[in-house]
């Protein structure tokens, strides 16, 4: 069969979202960011919100998310994304406003902004990439680095006596009155990707129905470069070491029993 007989619209089973452009991504092989970007783009497109979305990028590896998804964006100072999103949503209440943040951005330098935006019940969605390491700056210890995990600033492994404990911030966020939905997902298998997409869709829908309340989707992620593991081994390491500390599933869904 000739190639032109195969490549036809009716035979299409999968394509990347139109708003994902062809810019080469700066992410390392095996990084979870690419998959999560694609899910965010798919959901925006499927909800018909391309013209009605304003995204906020963090400081961290995802700082350049605006180079890959063709929506309107604002790039925040480190940790401040939820404050930006608060104002954008209040001034543009009909828009889908979301932040995309890493663990250092959200759970270290931006802890106050994260907690207060969620506690005010801002109608925003927070996509939270937790890979337990500072990727962009070269692999330093993150607030979410687990015990024994080696990073550039805990080269002999995180020692709770020296460095304190990993901040499981979504566990705290779920108890805030302003929260509507907190879930913890991953994207290392096809099944996990489908679940994560559903979670992102739910979070985005929550932002648009006028009922208020913040939604947080944590994605336990890999950083093969920072972890110094092959992509395949990174997935395995994540399942064996990160998941026990950060178990997957919904932490709270206030719409579940309604």
């Amino acid at each position: 069969m000739a190639l032109e007989d195969i490549i036809k619209p009716e035979n299409l089973v999968y394509k990347k979202p139109d708003i994902m452009n062809d810019n080469p991504m700066h992410y390392c092989p095996g990084c979870s960011h690419g998959v999560v970007h694609k899910l965010v783009a798919e959901v925006i497109e499927e909800m018909g919100l391309v013209e009605d979305t304003i995204g906020v990028t963090p400081v961290g590896c995802a700082v350049f998310a605006y180079n890959y998804i063709d929506i309107d964006w604002e790039e925040a100072a480190h940790g401040r994304a939820p404050a930006l999103a608060t104002a954008i949503k209040r001034l543009r209440p009909n828009k889908l406003v979301f932040t995309y943040q890493g663990d250092g951005d959200l759970a270290a330098i931006g802890t106050a902004e994260t907690i207060h935006a969620c506690n005010r019940g801002e109608s925003i969605a927070i996509i939270f990439i937790n890979n337990g390491i500072y990727g962009m700056t070269g692999g330093q210890m993150a607030p979410t680095t687990i015990e024994g995990m080696k990073t550039a600033t805990c080269p002999y492994g995180r020692d709770y006596k020296l460095n304190g404990y990993p901040l499981k911030i979504t566990n705290q966020l779920k108890d805030l009155d302003g929260i509507r939905y907190v879930t913890r997902q991953s994207v290392q298998t096809a099944a996990a990707v489908r679940k994560a997409k559903k979670a992102i869709r739910k979070a985005f829908e929550n932002c648009m129905d006028g009922k208020g309340g913040a939604s947080v989707v944590e994605v336990v992620s890999t950083c093969s470069s920072g972890w110094k593991l092959s992509p395949e081994k990174a997935n395995k390491w994540m399942e064996e070491n990160m998941f026990p500390e950060y178990p997957l599933g919904d932490l709270i869904d206030k719409d579940a029993n309604k």
């Binding site: 391309v50 013209e51 009605d52 979305t53 304003i54 906020v56 990028t57 700082v63 605006y66 063709d70 929506i71 309107d72 964006w73 604002e74 790039e75 925040a76 100072a77 401040r80 404050a83 930006l84 999103a85 608060t86 104002a87 954008i88 209040r90 001034l91 543009r92 828009k95 106050a112 902004e113 207060h116």
Partner: protein
Amino acid sequence: MSEEVKLMKGNEAIAHAAIRCGCDGYFGYPITPQSEVMETLMEVEPWKTTGMVVLQAESEVSSINMVYGGAATGKKVMTSSSSPGVSLMQEGISYLAGAELPALIVNVMRGGPGLGTIQPSQSDYFQTTKGGGHGDYRLIALAPASVQEMADFVGLAFDLAFKYRNPAIILADGVIGQMMEKVVLPDFKPRRTDEEVEKQCPWAATGRKMSRKNNIITSLELKPEVMEQNNLRFQAKYKQIEENEVRYEEILCDDAEYLLVAFGCSARICQKACEIARAEGIKLGLLRPITLWPFPTKAIAGYANKVKAMLSVELNAGQMVEDVRLAVNGKVPVEHYGRLGGIVFTPDEIVNAVKTKLM
């Protein structure tokens, strides 16, 4: 136009003027001596009338970043604070300048450094006019000397901020913020519609219309050759502002042999000092910079050919005096007189300083 004269504090005038000039959003955090700004807004509840958003943030860091978020969508947004709070905002102000966003910051100065005092001061002149945050940027800085100017400068600051896509600051002090004076508030101007905002600010992040490229508000550029060009573009804009937007007031300057240079509440006290000096036969005049940046360098340079000496009168240890000296360039002596830590000078003290330092 009905000219209804009202009596109120400078801080209250800021709040009423914000509502009347079509401000879309105020984000703040309480701090003395400026808390009446947000208190007044919360009492008036403008979200019920004009639709203006008013929000108390969890910190000054957050409030300036809310301003940064709101400004990115083309909305007229502002914050207010006092010195320690404005120090916390410097990161956000640098981002606003770097992303070329219009916004208004109000600083009702108190004495420092550190937690300092809640009494008035003018010791944030350097912070305001020389940087404060990181990087080569400028703020359009207006210095009100009356409650009337507190009201008038809100609209002016927004106009300038949008004209040049640059943050503007009203640099007031505890005296101007707290004192009550008569004021005629500006006429009500409706908030712009979303369509008007999009027309005025085609660069804004408002949700990407398929008819245009997506708008990205950022100060980040990793390629140094591009970042240098960005910086040169900012510098060209700053030069344009320096050429077009200098504002100052001359009081009793025509025949002056000695010149006071003072802004804000110091200028008010200097005005009285001029009257006292003239009653004693000393021809004393006052030049009051209204814009601290751009600074009235040319006007002051002009007086260097006319007067015998100048005195920069400031509630600090000598900050603006450096700019006066740069303008004068050694032609006549330029001295400084100041009080520190929240102490405010009397007119007699200033006349005495003229006699001892200039004559």
